[in-house]
Amino acid sequence: MSSAPLVELRQLAKAYQRGDQIVPVLTDITLDIEEGEFIALMGPSGSGKSTLLNLIAGIDKPDSGKLLIGGLDITRLSEADLADWRAANVGFIFQFYNLMPVLTAFENVELPLLLTSLSRAERRERVEITLDMVGLADRMRHVPSELSGGQQQRVAIARAVIADPTLIVADEPTGDLDRNSAADILNMMQRLNQEMRKTIIMVTHDANAAHAAKSVVHLEKGELIGTIKGRGESTVEE
Protein backbone atom coordinates (compact mmCIF):
# COMPACT_ATOMS: atom_id res chain seq x y z
CA MET A 1 0.00 0.00 0.00
CA SER A 2 1.52 3.35 -1.00
CA SER A 3 1.65 6.19 1.60
CA ALA A 4 -0.40 9.38 1.19
CA PRO A 5 1.18 12.25 -0.75
CA LEU A 6 2.88 14.99 1.26
CA VAL A 7 0.88 17.69 -0.52
CA GLU A 8 -2.72 17.10 -1.61
CA LEU A 9 -4.57 19.81 -3.52
CA ARG A 10 -8.23 19.24 -4.36
CA GLN A 11 -10.27 21.66 -6.51
CA LEU A 12 -8.25 24.54 -5.17
CA ALA A 13 -9.43 27.98 -6.29
CA LYS A 14 -8.22 31.49 -5.61
CA ALA A 15 -9.34 34.86 -6.94
CA TYR A 16 -8.31 38.43 -6.25
CA GLN A 17 -10.49 41.47 -6.15
CA ARG A 18 -9.29 44.42 -8.25
CA GLY A 19 -11.70 47.28 -7.68
CA ASP A 20 -15.14 45.96 -8.55
CA GLN A 21 -13.73 43.07 -10.55
CA ILE A 22 -13.00 39.61 -9.27
CA VAL A 23 -10.01 38.15 -11.10
CA PRO A 24 -9.65 34.36 -10.89
CA VAL A 25 -6.01 33.34 -10.39
CA LEU A 26 -6.30 29.63 -9.78
CA THR A 27 -9.16 27.43 -10.91
CA ASP A 28 -9.87 23.86 -9.91
CA ILE A 29 -6.31 22.82 -9.12
CA THR A 30 -5.97 19.18 -8.16
CA LEU A 31 -2.46 17.92 -7.60
CA ASP A 32 -0.55 15.45 -5.43
CA ILE A 33 3.10 15.94 -4.51
CA GLU A 34 4.90 13.00 -2.98
CA GLU A 35 7.41 13.33 -0.19
CA GLY A 36 10.95 13.66 -1.55
CA GLU A 37 9.75 15.23 -4.81
CA PHE A 38 11.47 18.17 -6.51
CA ILE A 39 8.86 19.96 -8.56
CA ALA A 40 9.24 22.96 -10.82
CA LEU A 41 6.11 25.07 -11.28
CA MET A 42 6.31 26.71 -14.68
CA GLY A 43 4.09 28.92 -16.70
CA PRO A 44 3.85 32.40 -18.18
CA SER A 45 3.47 35.50 -16.03
CA GLY A 46 0.05 35.63 -14.42
CA SER A 47 -0.47 31.89 -14.74
CA GLY A 48 -0.85 31.59 -10.95
CA LYS A 49 2.31 29.64 -10.16
CA SER A 50 3.49 31.97 -7.40
CA THR A 51 -0.02 32.08 -5.93
CA LEU A 52 -0.07 28.28 -5.89
CA LEU A 53 3.31 28.24 -4.18
CA ASN A 54 2.09 30.74 -1.59
CA LEU A 55 -0.96 28.60 -0.84
CA ILE A 56 1.16 25.45 -0.40
CA ALA A 57 3.58 27.38 1.82
CA GLY A 58 0.74 28.60 4.02
CA ILE A 59 1.31 32.30 3.47
CA ASP A 60 -1.96 32.75 1.59
CA LYS A 61 -5.34 31.08 1.83
CA PRO A 62 -7.47 29.60 -0.96
CA ASP A 63 -11.07 30.68 -1.55
CA SER A 64 -12.22 27.09 -1.89
CA GLY A 65 -10.94 23.55 -2.17
CA LYS A 66 -8.83 21.38 0.08
CA LEU A 67 -5.16 21.84 0.85
CA LEU A 68 -3.62 19.05 2.90
CA ILE A 69 0.04 19.01 3.82
CA GLY A 70 1.18 15.87 5.59
CA GLY A 71 -2.49 15.07 6.10
CA LEU A 72 -3.20 18.39 7.84
CA ASP A 73 -5.72 20.78 6.30
CA ILE A 74 -3.78 24.01 6.74
CA THR A 75 -6.67 26.15 5.50
CA ARG A 76 -8.39 25.49 8.83
CA LEU A 77 -5.51 26.73 10.94
CA SER A 78 -5.63 30.10 12.68
CA GLU A 79 -2.99 32.69 11.77
CA ALA A 80 -0.98 31.89 14.90
CA ASP A 81 -1.17 28.13 14.34
CA LEU A 82 -0.31 28.58 10.69
CA ALA A 83 2.77 30.62 11.68
CA ASP A 84 3.87 27.82 14.03
CA TRP A 85 3.22 25.26 11.30
CA ARG A 86 5.32 27.22 8.80
CA ALA A 87 8.16 27.57 11.30
CA ALA A 88 8.25 23.80 11.79
CA ASN A 89 7.48 22.55 8.31
CA VAL A 90 8.40 25.04 5.58
CA GLY A 91 11.68 26.51 4.43
CA PHE A 92 11.58 29.57 2.18
CA ILE A 93 13.94 30.56 -0.63
CA PHE A 94 13.09 33.87 -2.31
CA GLN A 95 14.21 35.39 -5.60
CA PHE A 96 15.81 38.38 -3.86
CA TYR A 97 17.06 36.28 -0.91
CA ASN A 98 15.10 38.36 1.66
CA LEU A 99 17.90 38.31 4.20
CA MET A 100 17.94 40.79 7.07
CA PRO A 101 20.49 43.34 5.85
CA VAL A 102 21.71 44.29 9.34
CA LEU A 103 22.38 40.72 10.40
CA THR A 104 25.42 38.63 9.53
CA ALA A 105 25.14 35.40 7.54
CA PHE A 106 25.36 33.53 10.85
CA GLU A 107 22.58 35.58 12.44
CA ASN A 108 20.37 35.29 9.36
CA VAL A 109 20.65 31.52 9.40
CA GLU A 110 20.09 31.45 13.15
CA LEU A 111 16.84 33.41 12.83
CA PRO A 112 14.39 30.45 12.39
CA LEU A 113 16.00 28.68 15.34
CA LEU A 114 14.81 31.46 17.66
CA LEU A 115 11.40 29.85 17.32
CA THR A 116 12.70 26.55 18.64
CA SER A 117 13.68 25.50 22.14
CA LEU A 118 17.33 25.00 21.22
CA SER A 119 19.94 26.48 23.50
CA ARG A 120 22.36 29.12 22.29
CA ALA A 121 25.17 26.58 22.05
CA GLU A 122 22.99 24.14 20.11
CA ARG A 123 21.91 26.89 17.75
CA ARG A 124 25.50 27.91 17.20
CA GLU A 125 26.60 24.37 16.40
CA ARG A 126 23.76 23.82 13.99
CA VAL A 127 24.30 27.15 12.20
CA GLU A 128 28.00 26.47 11.77
CA ILE A 129 27.33 23.01 10.31
CA THR A 130 24.70 24.37 7.94
CA LEU A 131 26.82 27.26 6.74
CA ASP A 132 29.68 24.84 6.21
CA MET A 133 27.33 22.65 4.19
CA VAL A 134 26.52 25.55 1.82
CA GLY A 135 30.21 26.46 1.60
CA LEU A 136 30.09 29.67 3.61
CA ALA A 137 31.91 28.68 6.78
CA ASP A 138 34.44 31.44 6.15
CA ARG A 139 31.81 34.11 5.46
CA MET A 140 29.55 33.69 8.46
CA ARG A 141 30.47 37.06 10.01
CA HIS A 142 29.70 38.98 6.83
CA VAL A 143 26.50 40.96 6.34
CA PRO A 144 24.55 40.39 3.10
CA SER A 145 25.90 43.53 1.44
CA GLU A 146 29.39 42.02 1.74
CA LEU A 147 28.34 38.85 -0.10
CA SER A 148 27.71 38.15 -3.78
CA GLY A 149 24.22 37.28 -5.03
CA GLY A 150 25.07 33.59 -5.18
CA GLN A 151 26.49 33.67 -1.66
CA GLN A 152 23.41 35.48 -0.36
CA GLN A 153 21.18 32.85 -1.90
CA ARG A 154 23.28 30.15 -0.27
CA VAL A 155 22.73 31.88 3.06
CA ALA A 156 19.00 31.88 2.26
CA ILE A 157 19.19 28.13 1.52
CA ALA A 158 20.95 27.57 4.83
CA ARG A 159 18.22 29.55 6.55
CA ALA A 160 15.58 27.50 4.74
CA VAL A 161 16.96 24.15 5.92
CA ILE A 162 18.27 25.07 9.36
CA ALA A 163 15.04 24.12 11.16
CA ASP A 164 14.90 20.85 9.21
CA PRO A 165 11.55 21.45 7.49
CA THR A 166 9.75 18.82 5.44
CA LEU A 167 9.01 21.16 2.60
CA ILE A 168 11.10 23.81 0.88
CA VAL A 169 9.41 26.38 -1.33
CA ALA A 170 11.51 28.45 -3.69
CA ASP A 171 10.15 31.36 -5.70
CA GLU A 172 12.44 32.03 -8.67
CA PRO A 173 15.55 31.15 -6.65
CA THR A 174 17.86 31.77 -9.59
CA GLY A 175 15.97 34.73 -11.06
CA ASP A 176 18.45 37.30 -9.76
CA LEU A 177 21.64 35.31 -10.34
CA ASP A 178 24.17 34.96 -13.13
CA ARG A 179 24.43 31.65 -14.96
CA ASN A 180 27.21 30.18 -12.84
CA SER A 181 25.66 31.16 -9.51
CA ALA A 182 22.29 29.87 -10.70
CA ALA A 183 23.80 26.49 -11.56
CA ASP A 184 25.51 26.42 -8.20
CA ILE A 185 22.24 27.08 -6.37
CA LEU A 186 20.33 24.50 -8.43
CA ASN A 187 22.97 21.88 -7.70
CA MET A 188 22.68 22.68 -4.04
CA MET A 189 18.91 22.28 -4.20
CA GLN A 190 19.30 18.95 -5.96
CA ARG A 191 21.61 17.83 -3.14
CA LEU A 192 19.05 18.92 -0.57
CA ASN A 193 16.46 16.87 -2.41
CA GLN A 194 18.59 13.79 -3.01
CA GLU A 195 20.78 13.66 0.08
CA MET A 196 18.53 15.21 2.71
CA ARG A 197 15.24 13.98 1.15
CA LYS A 198 13.72 17.47 1.24
CA THR A 199 10.57 17.98 -0.78
CA ILE A 200 11.14 21.04 -2.94
CA ILE A 201 8.61 23.06 -4.87
CA MET A 202 10.21 25.70 -7.05
CA VAL A 203 8.59 28.37 -9.18
CA THR A 204 10.67 29.30 -12.21
CA HIS A 205 10.53 30.87 -15.64
CA ASP A 206 13.84 29.35 -16.55
CA ALA A 207 13.72 26.06 -18.46
CA ASN A 208 17.30 25.33 -17.46
CA ALA A 209 16.35 25.71 -13.79
CA ALA A 210 13.29 23.52 -14.31
CA HIS A 211 15.61 20.88 -15.73
CA ALA A 212 17.07 20.45 -12.22
CA ALA A 213 13.68 19.34 -10.89
CA LYS A 214 12.36 15.78 -11.02
CA SER A 215 8.97 16.89 -12.29
CA VAL A 216 7.64 19.97 -14.01
CA VAL A 217 4.08 21.17 -13.49
CA HIS A 218 2.74 23.58 -16.11
CA LEU A 219 0.16 26.19 -15.32
CA GLU A 220 -1.62 28.50 -17.70
CA LYS A 221 -4.32 31.04 -16.90
CA GLY A 222 -4.71 29.54 -13.45
CA GLU A 223 -5.24 26.02 -14.66
CA LEU A 224 -3.04 22.98 -14.44
CA ILE A 225 -2.28 21.94 -17.98
CA GLY A 226 0.24 19.16 -17.56
CA THR A 227 2.95 17.41 -15.58
CA ILE A 228 6.23 16.07 -16.90
CA LYS A 229 7.87 13.51 -14.64
CA GLY A 230 11.24 11.80 -14.48
CA ARG A 231 13.63 14.68 -14.95
CA GLY A 232 16.37 16.14 -12.83
CA GLU A 233 18.56 13.09 -12.90
CA SER A 234 21.66 14.94 -14.10
CA THR A 235 23.37 17.85 -12.42
CA VAL A 236 23.00 21.30 -13.91
CA GLU A 237 25.91 22.42 -16.03
CA GLU A 238 27.44 25.84 -15.42
Partner: protein, 384 residues
Protein backbone atom coordinates in the same frame (compact mmCIF):
# COMPACT_ATOMS: atom_id res chain seq x y z
CA UNK B 1 20.16 39.29 23.36
CA UNK B 2 19.62 38.42 19.71
CA UNK B 3 16.48 40.54 19.57
CA UNK B 4 18.17 43.45 21.33
CA UNK B 5 21.01 43.29 18.82
CA UNK B 6 18.55 43.29 15.94
CA UNK B 7 16.65 46.23 17.44
CA UNK B 8 19.82 48.26 17.97
CA UNK B 9 21.14 47.49 14.48
CA UNK B 10 17.80 48.47 12.98
CA UNK B 11 17.78 51.72 14.95
CA UNK B 12 21.08 52.76 13.40
CA UNK B 13 20.49 51.43 9.90
CA UNK B 14 20.00 54.98 8.60
CA UNK B 15 22.58 56.73 10.72
CA UNK B 16 21.92 60.29 9.57
CA UNK B 17 18.17 59.95 10.01
CA UNK B 18 18.57 58.42 13.45
CA UNK B 19 21.12 61.01 14.56
CA UNK B 20 18.89 63.86 13.41
CA UNK B 21 15.94 62.33 15.23
CA UNK B 22 18.03 61.85 18.37
CA UNK B 23 19.15 65.49 18.18
CA UNK B 24 15.54 66.60 17.75
CA UNK B 25 14.46 64.50 20.71
CA UNK B 26 17.29 65.79 22.86
CA UNK B 27 16.35 69.38 22.05
CA UNK B 28 12.66 68.73 22.69
CA UNK B 29 13.29 67.02 26.04
CA UNK B 30 15.71 69.80 26.95
CA UNK B 31 13.23 72.53 25.94
CA UNK B 32 10.44 70.81 27.85
CA UNK B 33 12.64 70.58 30.94
CA UNK B 34 13.69 74.22 30.70
CA UNK B 35 10.14 75.47 30.21
CA UNK B 36 8.90 73.39 33.15
CA UNK B 37 11.76 74.80 35.22
CA UNK B 38 10.73 78.33 34.24
CA UNK B 39 7.23 77.58 35.53
CA UNK B 40 8.69 76.09 38.72
CA UNK B 41 10.87 79.17 39.14
CA UNK B 42 7.79 81.33 38.88
CA UNK B 43 6.28 79.49 41.81
CA UNK B 44 9.56 79.26 43.72
CA UNK B 45 8.81 82.30 45.89
CA UNK B 46 5.40 80.96 46.83
CA UNK B 47 6.77 77.49 47.42
CA UNK B 48 9.38 78.85 49.77
CA UNK B 49 6.84 81.02 51.58
CA UNK B 50 5.57 79.97 54.94
CA UNK B 51 2.13 79.13 56.24
CA UNK B 52 3.28 80.08 59.69
CA UNK B 53 3.54 83.75 58.70
CA UNK B 54 0.64 86.01 57.85
CA UNK B 55 0.67 89.10 55.70
CA UNK B 56 -1.67 91.93 56.59
CA UNK B 57 -2.16 94.55 53.93
CA UNK B 58 -4.67 97.17 52.88
CA UNK B 59 -7.85 95.44 51.73
CA UNK B 60 -8.29 97.83 48.80
CA UNK B 61 -4.90 97.24 47.22
CA UNK B 62 -1.30 96.61 48.02
CA UNK B 63 -0.61 100.11 46.70
CA UNK B 64 -2.35 101.65 49.73
CA UNK B 65 -0.42 101.55 53.01
CA UNK B 66 -1.65 100.87 56.54
CA UNK B 67 -1.20 103.17 59.53
CA UNK B 68 1.70 102.50 61.86
CA UNK B 69 -0.78 102.50 64.71
CA UNK B 70 -2.11 99.08 63.56
CA UNK B 71 1.08 97.37 64.69
CA UNK B 72 0.26 97.42 68.40
CA UNK B 73 -3.34 96.40 67.84
CA UNK B 74 -2.30 93.42 65.73
CA UNK B 75 0.25 92.41 68.35
CA UNK B 76 -2.55 92.32 70.92
CA UNK B 77 -4.52 89.65 69.10
CA UNK B 78 -4.43 86.14 70.55
CA UNK B 79 -1.98 83.85 68.78
CA UNK B 80 0.18 86.66 67.35
CA UNK B 81 3.78 86.42 68.46
CA UNK B 82 5.65 88.93 66.31
CA UNK B 83 4.61 91.83 64.09
CA UNK B 84 7.12 93.24 61.61
CA UNK B 85 6.83 96.17 59.19
CA UNK B 86 7.75 96.10 55.55
CA UNK B 87 7.62 98.77 52.84
CA UNK B 88 8.41 98.20 49.20
CA UNK B 89 11.11 100.71 48.27
CA UNK B 90 11.31 100.16 44.52
CA UNK B 91 14.61 101.96 43.91
CA UNK B 92 16.98 101.73 40.95
CA UNK B 93 20.57 100.62 41.40
CA UNK B 94 22.66 102.29 38.66
CA UNK B 95 20.18 101.50 35.89
CA UNK B 96 16.65 100.05 35.67
CA UNK B 97 17.78 96.71 34.26
CA UNK B 98 19.55 96.03 37.56
CA UNK B 99 16.23 95.42 39.21
CA UNK B 100 16.10 93.73 42.59
CA UNK B 101 13.72 93.85 45.52
CA UNK B 102 14.41 96.37 48.29
CA UNK B 103 12.40 96.46 51.48
CA UNK B 104 12.42 98.86 54.37
CA UNK B 105 11.84 96.58 57.34
CA UNK B 106 11.57 96.82 61.11
CA UNK B 107 14.47 95.46 63.12
CA UNK B 108 12.55 92.36 64.18
CA UNK B 109 11.81 91.41 60.57
CA UNK B 110 14.62 88.87 60.24
CA UNK B 111 13.39 87.16 63.45
CA UNK B 112 10.45 85.97 61.35
CA UNK B 113 12.69 84.47 58.67
CA UNK B 114 14.82 81.71 60.15
CA UNK B 115 15.47 80.53 56.56
CA UNK B 116 17.73 83.59 56.15
CA UNK B 117 20.96 83.17 58.06
CA UNK B 118 22.86 86.33 58.97
CA UNK B 119 26.07 86.05 61.02
CA UNK B 120 25.61 87.54 64.46
CA UNK B 121 28.43 90.12 64.13
CA UNK B 122 26.96 91.33 60.84
CA UNK B 123 23.51 91.51 62.38
CA UNK B 124 24.84 93.66 65.20
CA UNK B 125 26.71 95.89 62.73
CA UNK B 126 23.52 96.29 60.72
CA UNK B 127 21.45 97.22 63.78
CA UNK B 128 24.03 99.80 64.80
CA UNK B 129 24.14 101.58 61.46
CA UNK B 130 21.07 103.68 60.61
CA UNK B 131 22.03 103.61 56.94
CA UNK B 132 23.01 99.97 57.05
CA UNK B 133 21.45 97.33 54.90
CA UNK B 134 21.66 93.58 54.49
CA UNK B 135 21.74 91.87 51.12
CA UNK B 136 21.15 88.27 50.17
CA UNK B 137 23.92 86.02 48.89
CA UNK B 138 22.44 85.72 45.40
CA UNK B 139 22.25 89.50 45.10
CA UNK B 140 25.74 90.01 46.50
CA UNK B 141 27.16 87.48 44.07
CA UNK B 142 25.35 89.02 41.12
CA UNK B 143 26.63 92.54 41.70
CA UNK B 144 29.77 91.75 43.65
CA UNK B 145 28.58 93.52 46.84
CA UNK B 146 30.93 93.26 49.79
CA UNK B 147 30.63 94.30 53.39
CA UNK B 148 31.19 98.04 53.69
CA UNK B 149 30.17 98.83 50.13
CA UNK B 150 28.00 101.90 49.72
CA UNK B 151 25.00 101.34 47.49
CA UNK B 152 23.53 104.46 45.92
CA UNK B 153 19.92 103.74 45.06
CA UNK B 154 17.65 106.15 43.27
CA UNK B 155 14.20 106.15 44.78
CA UNK B 156 11.17 105.95 42.52
CA UNK B 157 8.44 105.83 45.15
CA UNK B 158 10.52 107.79 47.64
CA UNK B 159 12.40 110.44 45.64
CA UNK B 160 16.08 111.17 45.93
CA UNK B 161 19.27 109.16 45.87
CA UNK B 162 19.59 107.01 48.96
CA UNK B 163 22.83 105.61 50.20
CA UNK B 164 23.03 102.35 52.07
CA UNK B 165 26.04 100.64 53.54
CA UNK B 166 26.23 96.88 53.22
CA UNK B 167 26.54 95.62 56.79
CA UNK B 168 25.51 92.03 56.31
CA UNK B 169 25.14 89.32 53.72
CA UNK B 170 22.59 86.67 54.59
CA UNK B 171 22.45 83.16 53.21
CA UNK B 172 19.46 80.95 52.50
CA UNK B 173 19.32 77.73 54.49
CA UNK B 174 18.99 75.85 51.20
CA UNK B 175 19.04 76.47 47.45
CA UNK B 176 15.29 77.02 47.22
CA UNK B 177 15.42 80.20 49.28
CA UNK B 178 15.43 83.41 47.29
CA UNK B 179 18.18 85.64 48.60
CA UNK B 180 18.15 88.13 45.79
CA UNK B 181 16.89 91.01 47.88
CA UNK B 182 18.00 93.85 50.08
CA UNK B 183 16.62 95.06 53.41
CA UNK B 184 17.28 98.25 55.30
CA UNK B 185 15.91 100.06 58.35
CA UNK B 186 12.27 101.05 58.17
CA UNK B 187 13.04 103.84 60.67
CA UNK B 188 15.59 105.33 58.26
CA UNK B 189 12.97 105.48 55.55
CA UNK B 190 10.28 106.83 57.86
CA UNK B 191 12.46 109.53 59.37
CA UNK B 192 13.58 110.71 55.96
CA UNK B 193 10.04 110.71 54.61
CA UNK B 194 8.84 112.59 57.67
CA UNK B 195 11.21 115.39 56.71
CA UNK B 196 10.48 115.46 53.00
CA UNK B 197 6.85 114.30 52.67
CA UNK B 198 5.28 114.39 56.10
CA UNK B 199 1.91 113.14 54.85
CA UNK B 200 3.50 109.80 53.82
CA UNK B 201 5.23 109.20 57.15
CA UNK B 202 4.17 106.52 59.64
CA UNK B 203 2.71 104.43 56.89
CA UNK B 204 3.44 100.73 56.57
CA UNK B 205 3.26 98.82 53.27
CA UNK B 206 2.34 95.60 54.98
CA UNK B 207 2.73 93.80 58.25
CA UNK B 208 4.31 90.40 58.46
CA UNK B 209 2.74 88.61 61.40
CA UNK B 210 4.26 85.68 63.22
CA UNK B 211 1.77 83.29 64.84
CA UNK B 212 2.07 80.63 67.49
CA UNK B 213 0.40 77.83 65.52
CA UNK B 214 0.04 77.57 61.71
CA UNK B 215 -3.20 75.62 62.23
CA UNK B 216 -4.74 78.82 63.59
CA UNK B 217 -3.73 80.91 60.58
CA UNK B 218 -7.29 81.23 59.27
CA UNK B 219 -8.86 82.22 62.58
CA UNK B 220 -6.08 84.69 63.44
CA UNK B 221 -6.40 86.21 59.95
CA UNK B 222 -10.11 86.67 60.52
CA UNK B 223 -9.49 88.17 63.96
CA UNK B 224 -7.00 90.71 62.56
CA UNK B 225 -9.32 91.76 59.75
CA UNK B 226 -12.25 91.96 62.19
CA UNK B 227 -10.37 94.48 64.34
CA UNK B 228 -10.04 96.90 61.43
CA UNK B 229 -13.45 96.32 59.86
CA UNK B 230 -15.23 99.56 58.97
CA UNK B 231 -12.06 101.56 59.56
CA UNK B 232 -10.55 103.92 56.99
CA UNK B 233 -8.00 101.27 56.10
CA UNK B 234 -9.57 97.85 56.27
CA UNK B 235 -7.12 95.00 56.18
CA UNK B 236 -6.79 91.78 54.26
CA UNK B 237 -4.81 89.12 56.07
CA UNK B 238 -3.71 85.87 54.51
CA UNK B 239 -0.84 83.43 54.82
CA UNK B 240 2.40 84.47 53.23
CA UNK B 241 2.06 81.59 50.77
CA UNK B 242 -1.40 82.73 49.67
CA UNK B 243 -0.05 86.28 49.40
CA UNK B 244 2.81 85.13 47.14
CA UNK B 245 0.48 83.00 45.04
CA UNK B 246 -1.63 86.10 44.51
CA UNK B 247 1.38 87.63 42.75
CA UNK B 248 1.94 84.50 40.70
CA UNK B 249 -1.74 84.52 39.73
CA UNK B 250 -1.18 87.87 38.02
CA UNK B 251 1.04 85.99 35.56
CA UNK B 252 -1.30 83.05 35.06
CA UNK B 253 -1.70 83.65 31.34
CA UNK B 254 2.06 83.78 30.81
CA UNK B 255 2.54 80.59 32.79
CA UNK B 256 -0.27 78.92 30.86
CA UNK B 257 1.37 80.00 27.60
CA UNK B 258 4.73 78.57 28.70
CA UNK B 259 3.07 75.31 29.67
CA UNK B 260 1.26 75.09 26.33
CA UNK B 261 4.51 75.75 24.45
CA UNK B 262 6.22 72.96 26.41
CA UNK B 263 3.46 70.52 25.45
CA UNK B 264 3.50 71.68 21.84
CA UNK B 265 7.25 70.99 21.70
CA UNK B 266 6.56 67.43 22.83
CA UNK B 267 3.73 67.01 20.32
CA UNK B 268 5.92 68.24 17.48
CA UNK B 269 8.75 65.85 18.28
CA UNK B 270 6.19 63.08 18.70
CA UNK B 271 5.06 63.75 15.13
CA UNK B 272 8.69 63.80 13.92
CA UNK B 273 9.44 60.56 15.73
CA UNK B 274 6.25 58.93 14.43
CA UNK B 275 7.26 59.93 10.92
CA UNK B 276 10.73 58.44 11.40
CA UNK B 277 9.28 55.17 12.64
CA UNK B 278 6.64 55.11 9.89
CA UNK B 279 9.36 55.59 7.25
CA UNK B 280 11.52 52.88 8.78
CA UNK B 281 8.64 50.44 9.06
CA UNK B 282 7.45 51.14 5.51
CA UNK B 283 10.95 50.50 4.15
CA UNK B 284 11.06 47.19 6.00
CA UNK B 285 7.66 45.88 4.97
CA UNK B 286 9.20 43.03 2.98
CA UNK B 287 11.48 42.16 5.91
CA UNK B 288 8.51 42.00 8.25
CA UNK B 289 6.69 39.82 5.71
CA UNK B 290 9.73 37.55 5.52
CA UNK B 291 9.84 37.24 9.29
CA UNK B 292 6.13 36.40 9.29
CA UNK B 293 6.67 33.80 6.57
CA UNK B 294 9.42 32.23 8.69
CA UNK B 295 6.90 31.86 11.49
CA UNK B 296 7.37 34.97 13.62
CA UNK B 297 4.10 36.38 14.87
CA UNK B 298 2.85 39.98 15.09
CA UNK B 299 4.08 40.18 18.70
CA UNK B 300 7.68 39.74 17.55
CA UNK B 301 7.31 42.52 14.97
CA UNK B 302 5.71 44.74 17.60
CA UNK B 303 8.67 44.15 19.91
CA UNK B 304 11.09 45.04 17.08
CA UNK B 305 9.30 48.26 16.20
CA UNK B 306 8.60 49.38 19.76
CA UNK B 307 12.12 48.44 20.73
CA UNK B 308 13.64 50.48 17.93
CA UNK B 309 11.49 53.48 18.79
CA UNK B 310 12.41 53.15 22.46
CA UNK B 311 16.13 52.88 21.70
CA UNK B 312 16.05 56.12 19.71
CA UNK B 313 13.91 57.91 22.30
CA UNK B 314 16.01 56.67 25.19
CA UNK B 315 19.19 57.97 23.59
CA UNK B 316 17.58 61.29 22.64
CA UNK B 317 15.94 61.61 26.04
CA UNK B 318 19.18 60.78 27.85
CA UNK B 319 21.05 63.49 25.94
CA UNK B 320 18.24 65.93 26.68
CA UNK B 321 18.33 65.04 30.37
CA UNK B 322 22.10 65.36 30.57
CA UNK B 323 22.05 68.73 28.85
CA UNK B 324 19.19 70.16 30.92
CA UNK B 325 21.21 71.13 34.06
CA UNK B 326 23.89 72.76 31.89
CA UNK B 327 21.29 74.64 29.86
CA UNK B 328 19.44 75.62 33.06
CA UNK B 329 22.64 77.03 34.50
CA UNK B 330 23.33 79.00 31.30
CA UNK B 331 19.71 80.15 31.18
CA UNK B 332 19.86 81.34 34.78
CA UNK B 333 22.99 83.31 34.04
CA UNK B 334 21.52 84.79 30.85
CA UNK B 335 18.31 85.74 32.64
CA UNK B 336 20.43 88.01 34.84
CA UNK B 337 18.83 87.16 38.15
CA UNK B 338 15.21 87.29 37.02
CA UNK B 339 14.98 83.75 38.35
CA UNK B 340 17.01 83.61 41.56
CA UNK B 341 15.91 80.01 42.07
CA UNK B 342 16.25 78.07 38.83
CA UNK B 343 16.82 74.47 39.72
CA UNK B 344 15.67 71.51 37.63
CA UNK B 345 13.37 69.66 39.99
CA UNK B 346 13.14 65.90 40.45
CA UNK B 347 9.58 66.09 39.19
CA UNK B 348 10.74 67.82 35.99
CA UNK B 349 13.36 65.11 35.43
CA UNK B 350 10.71 62.43 35.88
CA UNK B 351 8.42 64.29 33.49
CA UNK B 352 11.22 64.47 30.92
CA UNK B 353 11.81 60.73 31.22
CA UNK B 354 8.08 60.15 30.96
CA UNK B 355 7.86 62.34 27.85
CA UNK B 356 10.69 60.45 26.13
CA UNK B 357 9.04 57.11 26.89
CA UNK B 358 5.60 58.30 25.81
CA UNK B 359 7.05 59.66 22.55
CA UNK B 360 8.78 56.32 21.95
CA UNK B 361 5.64 54.33 22.59
CA UNK B 362 3.27 56.63 20.72
CA UNK B 363 5.52 56.80 17.65
CA UNK B 364 5.59 53.02 17.38
CA UNK B 365 1.87 52.33 17.66
CA UNK B 366 0.80 52.89 14.04
CA UNK B 367 3.88 51.27 12.39
CA UNK B 368 3.54 48.26 14.71
CA UNK B 369 -0.15 47.89 13.88
CA UNK B 370 0.57 48.14 10.16
CA UNK B 371 3.39 45.61 10.34
CA UNK B 372 1.24 43.24 12.35
CA UNK B 373 -1.59 43.49 9.85
CA UNK B 374 0.38 43.32 6.62
CA UNK B 375 -0.42 40.21 4.56
CA UNK B 376 2.70 38.18 3.89
CA UNK B 377 2.13 37.98 0.15
CA UNK B 378 1.59 41.75 -0.07
CA UNK B 379 4.57 42.44 2.15
CA UNK B 380 6.90 40.26 0.10
CA UNK B 381 5.99 42.28 -3.00
CA UNK B 382 6.66 45.59 -1.24
CA UNK B 383 9.67 47.60 -2.33
CA UNK B 384 11.58 49.29 0.49
Amino acid sequence: MYVLKLITKNAFRHRLRTILTVVGLAIAVLAYGLLQTVVDAWYAGAAAASNARLVTRNAISLVFPLPLSYEGRIRGIDGVTVVARSNWFGGIYQEPKNFFAQFAVSDNYLDLYPEFVLPEDQHVAYLRDRKGCVVGRQLADQFGFKLGDVLPIKGTIFPGTWEFVVRGIFEGVDETKVTRQMMFHWEYLNETVRKTARRRADQVGLYVVGIDNPDNAASISRSIDAVFKNSLAETLTETEQAFQLGFVAMSNEIIAAIRIVSYVVILIIMAVMANTMAMSARERTSEYATLKALGFGPAFLTVLIFGESMVICTIGGAFGLLLTPLAASAFKKAAGGVFPVFEVSRQTILLQIGCALVIGAAAAIVPALRAARVRIVDGLRAIG
